[in-house]
């Protein structure tokens, strides 16, 4: 054992170098860039009808872009998932959040907090590599930010993208419709924008349905921007109770976002004031016309929309018996023989189901959020679902003058698969995305779920889930379908009739957030051996997003997940290879610090589409 006083060192670590390194790191750490230096920025701008400039700014990740484009800079054949997402902005914060914001922080403990969510940040269309064979699979290869409007609350796009289509995307709170050109992905450009002043007879855009000619229909759920009479493109006039009220309208846009027609969703005659309350009442023209979901069958010359709610007034108090009817119970069918003049031909009230809910707002036909049509020429039917009623309806013939709609499935049957001990029905379980497969064999549905204890202390809730139903027998029955969930036992066990849909698979979504899966998209493409893509009717995967609308209090975990689908059994399973590039776990997390467009923090992904080049 010995002890040594220090001697002059024989070999010296380059102290100066080390200190220089430390200083360099300190400087580097202190620099906050607004956009990553490894991105290429390409801006596309147009003039809106108000004379202002509107733009989309691409932030292409250079490393990825190299792999996704040829040497000449043209896009390679590739598949992407495009996600329309909003910046988590100042208005999404709650009073509690603000109170937790430190004015003068102790940085040792709060560290990087002040670096994220710097306001305001732009909403954006995220371009994610969706080619399973690609080394950048699951990576965000471009974020195309829109401006100058902020707080758009990005909402829906069209349901399916077909080759050559533009993308139509709506802003719920800005009442703006953006049209994007995606022919040069991963880069995209702005083809047009429609502002509220361009769509005076409606407000609050919801969903879009594209037509082969490059145009698109849109549902504007809320009433005219100014209350009173509004004159539509065909010269007809409807009274409305103003922005966010009723009636909504159907708009047809061209590929540059120009309004080709505004057509009323409301009938000229008054609907039942008892069934269709409006606040304030519209004298002599009560209406439930608040169209949300929209799909069309051009071959049948029919357009189907589902009425959801008079959005401005839901906050009043929908629990009151008279106000639960602010959540609509109706589906509208339009004749689109003249594509520019959709003509309302039927308004169908969805039938009440066997559940007797103590809260009338939980009855089956409450809040018909989505609708989806069948696709094959032999089929003429359509489905609709109720967000607050928790069921699915079907009519076998949308060309009928008086379509017959029946309840064919209760979400309770699907939730039973995950929780056999479910003791409450699917009332207000937050059903959203509803989509038939191109071969009409299956029906996909996303359900936000209802938190346990929502209704009472013993409420087991409804799981957050995405499920798929086998609808082959139902469609095979043609117009002679007999399926009808009209007995209380069928709520839990499923429809008793032989042609009723059956559960093919249920994917539980683990998530502790206030929201759940609200939207999804079917991958309608298949890659050929030569690297090109073709549309397919066989579903091998879908994507879903876990976000609703933060400001309503129902948020979500902000993840976008890829789901593998067994083409034979339809069994759903999370794609474990579609991982977040930062966290390494399945699903792309939109809660992140850095984006290609900068350190803007969390984002809210509402809807998505598969797109190929």
């Amino acid at each position: 054992m010995s002890e040594h006083v220090l001697q002059r060192p024989k070999r010296t670590l380059p102290l100066g170098l080390a200190l220089l390194l430390a200083v360099g790191l300190i400087v580097a750490a202190g620099v906050h860039t607004t956009a990553n230096a490894s991105v290429q920025i390409v801006t596309s701008a147009i003039k809106g009808s108000d004379g202002k400039s509107y733009w989309v700014k691409n932030h292409l990740v250079k490393d990825s872009a190299k792999q996704l484009t040829t040497a000449a800079g043209t896009p390679k054949h590739h598949e992407y998932l495009l996600v329309w997402a909003g910046d988590q902005n100042v208005a999404d914060t709650t009073g509690a959040d603000i109170q937790r914001t430190p004015i003068a922080v102790n940085p040792i403990k709060t560290l990087n907090e002040d670096a994220v969510d710097d306001p305001p940040a732009a909403d954006f269309l995220a371009v994610i590599d969706a080619d399973k064979t690609s080394p950048t699979y699951g990576k965000v290869v471009n974020t195309a930010t829109v401006g100058p409007l902020v707080e758009n609350e990005p909402h829906h796009m069209q349901y399916v993208w077909h080759k050559g289509d533009k993308i139509f995307a709506g802003g719920l709170f800005s009442s703006a419709t953006y049209v994007f050109d995606v022919s040069k992905l991963p880069q995209l450009s702005l083809s047009g924008i429609a502002l509220p002043q361009d769509t005076k007879c409606g407000s609050i855009p919801d969903a879009y349905w594209t037509l082969p000619d490059g145009t698109a229909y849109a549902t504007y759920m809320g009433g005219p921007v100014v209350p009173g009479p509004c004159r539509y493109s065909d010269g007809s006039v409807r009274l409305g109770n103003g922005y966010g009220g009723s009636p909504g309208e159907i708009i047809r846009f061209d590929g540059a976002g120009k309004v080709l027609s505004e057509m009323p969703a409301a009938s000229a005659a008054s609907e039942s004031p008892a069934l269709c309350p409006n606040y304030p009442a519209i004298p002599g023209q009560a209406t439930c016309a608040n169209p949300h979901g929209i799909q069309a069958r051009s071959d049948l010359k029919r357009l189907v929309t589902s009425d959801y709610a008079e959005p401005r007034n839901i906050v009043l108090d929908p629990v009151k018996p008279q106000d639960n009817l602010l959540f609509r119970q109706t589906v509208r069918i339009f004749d689109i023989s003249n594509v520019n003049r959709p003509k309302l031909v039927s308004v169908s009230k969805m039938p009440d189901g066997p559940r007797t809910e103590r809260n009338p707002g939980h009855n089956e036909p409450t809040g018909i959020m989505e609708t989806t049509v069948t696709n094959l020429p032999a089929h003429k039917g359509a489905f609709a679902e109720s967000m607050c009623g928790g069921v699915i309806y079907y009519t076998p013939d949308i060309t009928a003058s008086k379509p017959v709609w029946r309840e064919v499935f209760d979400d309770t049957t699907a939730s039973k698969v995950l929780n056999p001990n479910v003791i409450e029905g699917a009332g207000c379980d937050g059903g959203g995305w509803l989509q038939t497969t191109a071969d009409d064999g299956y029906l996909y549905h996303a359900v936000i779920g209802r938190s346990p204890g929502s209704l009472s202390a013993d409420d087991s809730g409804v799981p957050k889930m995405v499920y798929v139903l086998n609808i082959k027998k139902l469609l095979a029955a043609g117009t002679a379908t007999t399926c009808s969930v009209d007995k209380i036992t069928e709520v839990y066990k499923g429809g008793a009739e032989a042609d009723c849909p059956t559960v093919a698979s249920v994917l539980p979504v683990s998530d502790g957030s206030t929201g759940g899966p609200h939207w999804g998209a079917i991958d309608n493409f298949v890659k050929a051996s030569n690297g090109t893509y073709a549309e397919t009717k066989t579903v091998s995967r879908i994507a879903f997003s876990n976000y609703f609308v933060a400001r309503t209090g129902v948020n979500g975990n902000h993840q976008v997940c890829m789901v593998n689908v067994n083409p034979k059994t339809q069994k759903l399973s999370i794609d474990q290879t579609f991982i977040d590039e930062n966290e390494g776990t399945p699903c792309v997390n939109f809660n992140r610090t850095n984006w290609p467009h900068g350190k803007t923090g969390n984002a809210k992904p509402h809807s998505e589409l598969f797109v190929v080049t």
Binding site: S2, E3, H4, V5, L6, R11, T12, L13, L15, L19, L21, A22, L25, I26, A28, A29, G30, D50, G51, A91, T93, G95, A96, I98, Q99, I103, A104, V105, P107, K109, L111, P119, V150, F173, V225, V226, G228, G242, Y243, G244, P280, A309, P311, R312, V315, D317, P318, F327, H362, G367, C388, C428, S513, V549, R551, T552, V554, E583, G584, T585
Partner: protein
């Protein structure tokens, strides 16, 4: 330099590394899934930054251990020491990685720390004490970007020196313990003597920087006695005093070669480890309350104990206008006393404009709450001249001043001409009228009070060609003959009363509000009434990014302050005055858009604190109309 035998410490080296690596892995596992959940579990709650606290502990020990040989001028070429220091390094790297993954530390800063640790490990392998000491300095230096300047450069400077001094003391002590363990007590006496200057110096620096940090953070008696932070700080101070006592006794006994001196060494080490533990707890507690501080001219901030309630103040010019806002609805009983004239008042909800006495442009206030007291000095911000309709009354001027102060605090300045452009009431009326005609509204009831801006607005609407029926708001009942649209051009209180009175008999073509009614107390009524439309006219783009910046900054420093057009104008006057010259008039619909019934939203706090009004949006519904405007700050 011959190696020393390490005995049991040597045998434990492998276990130490394994334990550290396991701990790091566990922390990584805890951290990794956290961001996948909106509400992480208690173990990783943001309420107590576990990783940062553990990291701080490891940092002090690691930096100190590296510097130990140089501090004590006693080399210890022991594999056990190398293993021990390596274990600390591995654990610290793991914790830093975990922090980076959880976005608790910037990636570049984390990279800097990790590189510094690697430099330290390399120095350790050389066995050269000075190189290891240099590496320790680098390691402490790498904390600078982690600490950052968010709490001011003084905080950065004093924290870094405090941290370094702590490392010197703790590291020297750890090394002493190692020497005693490996070289024996007799041999260690020499080391104690050599370490004495460094130990005394670090103690003095620790005490000095500790006191300076208390001054920087305004940690006064009230904080020490009334907050958890203060209590822990007192415990920590007591621990330091005890450690100093142990150190003095230990050194005296070591000098005298007393047989029991090493007991006091152990006691000092244990007490010091506890002190570092208190420091770790302090980092997890709410920021030490700055009892009262001026953030910028016209804006001050007061923390009211652990409750986190704040009061923001904005002074304005010779009038001595003051607006104050408590951030917490359930804030404790607060009284404010003007120390200049002794007047006192209680804060209310929302902006309150009060004329207060100033002395040389400075307000001297005393805030009392729940038996506590904080004195506050606020230099008044420049006051706008009341030529603009938005700042024609006290509330408007106070809001404007608050906007100016908030912009200065936020440090957002884009320069420009300095001319703040805003239309007068007549020009606004003309723009209103033009917009009405575009919407097909040819007749409007204008509700006025007895102010010039109100009647000027009505005159402007008429000049655009709209039939105007002027109604004084002194009337108790609505006029029998009414137009289909109404323009409310009164103050906030009257406007609220009018809108409620409209009720079911609301004008069928909507209720329109004068720009100075951009106020959530008015806009929010649309949630409670079944109005066909409530729309605000404004020459400021209320849906612009600048508007969002203003609302967030305002909500951050004054959470209960109500955003207003006057406030936005004040904000822009600092942040981007040139933008006001580009402003055009638009109507914005106020719509509380919701999509879910309460059962789905139940249990969730979704009252947005920083929207123009709770859970609502302002959306432009008309194309921009030109409006004549001039400088309001010539």
């Amino acid at each position: 330099m011959a190696a020393l035998k390490a005995g049991s410490v040597r045998r434990g080296g492998g276990r130490l590394i394994a334990t550290a690596a396991t701990a790091a892995a566990v922390l990584l596992l805890i951290a990794a899934p956290a961001s996948a959940h909106e509400h992480p579990g208690p173990a990783v709650s943001r309420g107590f930054p576990l990783l940062a606290s553990v990291g701080l502990y490891l940092l002090v020990l690691l930096a100190g251990s590296l510097a130990g040989p140089a501090l004590t001028r006693t080399a210890l070429s022991s594999p056990a020491r190398r293993r021990g220091v390596s274990a600390l390094a591995v654990a610290y790297i793991g914790v830093t990685l975990a922090e980076a993954m959880r976005h608790e530390v910037a990636t570049a800063a984390a990279a800097g720390v990790i590189v510094a640790v690697v430099v330290g490990l390399a120095a350790l392998l050389t066995g050269e004490a000075r190189e290891q000491a240099a590496a320790a300095v680098v390691l402490v230096g790498a904390q600078l970007p982690v600490i950052g300047t968010g709490a001011g450069t003084n905080h950065l400077l004093f924290s870094a020196v405090h941290l370094g001094a702590a490392a010197v003391w703790a590291g020297g002590l750890v090394h002493l313990v190692l020497v005693v363990t490996t070289a024996g007590r007799d041999a260690a006496v020499q080391t104690v003597r050599r370490f004495a200057p460094a130990a005394i110096g670090s103690g003095v620096i620790l005490a000095a920087t500790g006191l300076l940090l208390m001054v920087v953070h305004r940690v006064g008696l009230a904080v020490l006695t009334n907050t958890t932070y203060g209590h822990v700080l007192l415990l920590k101070t007591a621990g330091v005093a005890l450690a100093v006592g142990c150190a003095i006794v230990m050194r005296r006994r070591a000098r005298d070669r007393a047989r029991t001196w090493h007991y006091f060494l152990r006691a000092e080490a244990i007490v010091l480890a506890t002190v570092v533990g208190f420091a770790v707890v302090l980092t997890g507690l709410p920021t030490p309350a700055r009892a009262a501080t001026q953030l910028t001219a016209g804006l001050a901030h007061i923390r009211l104990g652990d409750e986190g309630a704040t009061v923001a103040l904005a002074g304005a010019g010779a009038r001595g206008l003051l607006t104050y806002v408590a951030s917490d609805v359930d804030a404790p009983d607060v009284r404010i006393i003007n120390r200049i004239d002794g007047s006192q008042w209680r804060p209310g909800i929302g902006p309150v404009a009060t004329s207060i006495a100033l002395a040389g442009g400075v307000a001297r206030l005393r805030v009392l709450w729940s038996g506590h007291r904080a004195d506050l000095t606020v230099r008044a911000a420049p006051a706008p001249k009341p030529v603009d309709p938005l700042v024609a009354d006290d509330a408007g001027r106070a809001s404007y001043s608050l906007g100016v102060a908030v912009a200065r605090w936020a440090g957002t300045r884009r320069g420009g001409t300095g001319c703040v452009t805003s239309p007068d009431a007549n020009a606004l009326g003309t723009a209103f009228g033009t917009s009405f005609l575009r919407l097909g509204i040819r007749s409007v009831d204008v509700y006025v009070d007895n102010t010039a801006r109100s009647t000027d607005l009505a005159t402007g609407v008429r000049s655009a060609g709209v039939a105007v029926h002027v109604h004084p708001t002194s009337i108790e009942t609505l006029p029998a003959e009414r137009s289909t649209a109404a323009l409310v051009a009164t103050g906030v209180v009257t406007a609220r009363r009018l809108i409620v009175r409209f009720g079911a008999a609301a004008p069928g073509r909507g209720v329109y509000l004068a720009p100075w009614l951009t106020d959530s107390r008015v806009l929010g009524l649309t949630q409670k009434t079944a109005l066909p439309l409530l729309a605000i006219g404004s020459a400021l783009d209320l849906s612009s990014p600048a508007g969002e910046r203003y609302r967030l900054a305002l909500a951050t420093v004054a959470a209960r302050a109500i955003p207003s057009a006057a406030g936005l104008l004040g904000y822009l006057s600092v942040a981007d005055p040139a933008s006001t010259a580009r402003a055009q008039f638009q109507l914005f619909a106020a719509a509380p858009i919701a999509f879910l019934p309460k059962v789905l939203a139940s249990g969730h706090d979704h009252d947005s604190a920083s929207a123009w009004f709770p859970n609502g949006s302002l959306t432009a519904i008309t194309a921009a109309a030109p409006v004549v405007a001039g400088c309001i700050n010539p």
